[in-house]
């Protein structure tokens, strides 16, 4: 146990050190101003990571205060708030491709990178790690369903576009909207399933989370007051939104100077930034041999993106000039489906080992290579 605690206190505080980039980002944006787009992009990206971590902590504390049901709902709704805010900012700025790519990227990043590193790191310490097969299978099935749902608008687009006079953007938008409604409905049903009717399958070991919290943030050992949690949540949300605007504003310049495409920025860079907090928590849990939690975080976060964040972005886009639909490119669709199936294959038997982590990471690298070499659609 002592080793595990040491590991966690080595891993977690590292994120808080990144808070140093928050003032640097503001300075670059308002003091230096103008022509340092790439630097601003990188600094903003690094600055968002710890603030998103604090949003997560505040949500966790509020959820703890609210009791199981409402708390679970809160976690489920705000768990990916940072991704949602970044995506909303990008949507407002008309970076539709980046938004779509960040949805895909968050899903494959959580499934392959976060889960891959967790399984690998945990597997180096323990020869075999086990977890609840039924819960993992239930999540993976929902994941496969979500992946398939995201394929449908693409199938529509391809088929309808090949039909003379058949394709209308309006029909495509309506189809995406209708699918978004079905996805949100499925998400509501899943919450009811996991928080109400079958909650015993998804036991969150509160004691573990708490002890882990103690270890990594000694200053915050006692639970926060509701007021403190709310204030921190509000402050962090404003800060994430603000810095996200810098990030989004600098995306075009950074993209060009780094020589990568919009899709690569969304799929790889934005997705890693938005999920850094999940990443660090999942690895810590895996190193403590709590694979149920590690898998719950990685798969649960992907599910939330697919069933909640993506539909909410479709709905929210009606407030902006450019509407978002759910038609992804073929490589994105393949990446999501493949990530869902391989995760299911690996998590479906209730056991993991280091080689399974290597396989998830190998797939992530291969997909990263694909998106890196893929030419821009513009």
């Amino acid at each position: 146990m002592a080793t595990a605690l040491k590991t966690s206190s080595w891993l977690r505080p590292s994120l808080d050190w990144l808070l140093i980039f928050v003032p640097i980002a503001f300075a670059l944006r308002y003091v230096v101003a103008g022509r340092h787009g790439t630097a601003l992009f990188i600094v903003s990206a690094l600055a968002i990571i710890p603030i998103a971590g604090w949003m997560g902590k505040a949500t966790e504390q509020l959820a703890h205060r609210m009791g199981e049901g409402i708390g679970g709902l809160l976690n489920a709704s705000f768990g990916n708030a940072a991704e949602l805010i970044i995506a909303l900012m990008a949507l407002r700025a008309g970076h539709i491709e980046v938004v779509k790519a960040s949805i895909t990227g968050s899903i494959i990043g959580n499934l392959l990178l976060v889960l891959g590193v967790s399984v690998f790191a945990g597997g180096l310490r323990y020869k075999k790690q086990t977890f609840n097969k039924t819960a993992a299978r239930a999540s993976c099935t929902a994941l496969i369903l979500a992946a398939v749902a995201l394929v449908i608008p693409t199938i529509f687009h391809r088929t309808a576009a090949a039909t003379p006079g058949g394709w209308t953007p309006a029909a495509e938008q309506t189809l995406s909207l209708a699918i978004a409604v079905v996805l949100v409905g499925t998400y509501a049903a899943m919450l009811c399933f996991s928080l109400v009717t079958h909650k015993q399958l998804f036991v969150r070991d509160d004691a573990d989370i708490a002890s882990e919290g103690d270890a990594s943030n000694d200053a915050h050992a006692e639970p926060w007051s509701v007021k403190k949690a709310l204030m921190i949540l509000l402050g962090a949300t404003i800060a994430v939104a603000w810095v996200s605007e810098f990030l989004v504003g600098a995306v075009e310049e950074a993209r060009q100077s780094l020589g990568v495409t919009e899709v690569f920025v969304g799929v790889i860079i934005v997705a890693i930034v938005g999920n850094a907090a999940e990443h660090s928590t999942a690895i810590t849990m895996a190193l403590k041999n709590k694979m149920d939690l590690a898998i719950g975080i990685a798969v649960g976060s992907s599910l939330q993106i697919a069933l909640f964040v993506a539909p909410v972005l479709v709905f929210a886009s009606y407030l902006f000039p450019h509407q978002l639909n759910l038609e992804f490119s073929i490589p994105e669709v393949v990446a999501v489906v493949v990530a869902a199936f391989v995760t299911d294959q690996i998590a479906g038997d209730g056991e993991s080992n280091w080689f399974e982590g290597v396989q998830l990471l190998a797939l992530y690298i291969i997909l990263g290579l694909l998106f890196y070499y893929l030419p821009s659609a513009h």
Copy 2:
């Protein structure tokens, strides 16, 4: 048990009430005549449902009399006779697209709608329902094989069409015919497996079927004589064929006045009509916590369509002016493959709950939306 019996007597007789539509269909066709195509289509569809139910009952009774081996073969061959007859009528009238779509629709309808409603309804009553994992897996594997086989002619068509001078309709027809032969051979092997060499895996609980029969049809508590069963089977077959002709004759007019495509008519409407009897039986079984039977009906019926009805239609089409091949559209192929994989994922662990039913239904709705918005290929 009392509740279950009540439920079943509420559900089953409802189908017989639909017999009222049989004379209405004949009246509309021969007395009123002409210009009521849409009404005739709807009335004929409703009239086929109870007659198909009686065909099923007669087959069941005959099978019961014939003993296990021959009886199983009878059930396996005539279990989807209604779908087969409707499809033959549509084939004769040259509605090739409707026939293909009704094959796809029967498969996804049984897997997603029938199984989805059964799992959902059963799951509302019982927290967890269990069933024989080995039998479910064996059926699902055959299903995946069948889904893959139906993909091959489409792959051929796409690839060959992209090869200059490479594609000939004759080669495509020969390939479909050869695949149909392999599918029927696999079906024969499956019957040998499930009725002869490994029949203990597929126990049909005859006592249950019988008691269920008692409850829902008090008038027919004692087994029918072979003569009676044969007469009813013959009468119902003629009636289904006759009314199917009305249905097929009115399809074009109905399609236009309802504003839907041929594919939507086949995938959703014809498929629901043809499978209504399976539907009601599977739900009744799920409500009685007999998930082995519910899954057996839904998955078994899909398998029969893919491995037996589809090849037989290919063979039979040589009697008609237009030959049927097994080249489906991309959306149809995706729908079948996805339905087979998701069913396997859900049924493969030998357990079900209400949320799994919701997931199957969500996928059915999403696929229905796809086919609804998809423009006609003509």
Copy 3:
């Protein structure tokens, strides 16, 4: 046991009888010379089968001498040496399509034909055969990963080709090269997993292999000396390379006179020739109810092709005028993915029966039909 031994001595020696074709091949090539391309092709193909078998035996004997670790590595590296040599000869002669097709064909041939016949034959003798589920699942997961990796360059090609000005052969080659590096890295990790950290999962029953060796080759009952094994390995390697050159040189003429495409030659014919030795061993093991070994041979050989032989061919192609990339045709990609998924579905539950063998074979026949009817891309 006696029956099993008799079966094996009936099966194995049959391959050695084929050695008669070695002198015939040389005679046809150097004595008769010229215009008997098709005969030379067939005779060379038959001649390679037993020499490849002797390469396998020599590798096995060396591996036995070297001890577990190095021995396993040797087996893993030279297990598919015959395929590798044939492919290198074809690569040198510029038959890029044949090489790619033989990679695909070796994978599906091992998974569907070798495993299918083994499961079927074993299932005829034993009602149910069981094997280690964890080991089978681990191999199948690696297989799915490999299949997915081979899909990526094709996705890239299709997507990039549809982007105006986006596609460059150089980018495609670099992507293939990078993926090949990831695949070899995964292979190294897999060897470390199966030979070092988790070797107890992959127990090779040496006693069984030995007793099987005794039975089939009474003359070689005592282990070979290292020198003898090395000499035979060297001699057989030279012979395979030599006869492969005849085979490759006659491929064009044989192809035309048999009326089949290059892809069919690679996928079906070359693949069967290269895997004949695996074929005979896997069946023998299945008939002895040693399904762990039968599955290990079939799945392991496929994995070796995908994770080791294919990347090595990509690297080696830089020595020749034509570079090899990993962009396969859509039918090849579909065949590999489908074969991997169906194998996983069938092997993933740790049980097999004759009908599962029929299903694997049915899929092999269907894919064979596809490649037979598919027009040549040229």
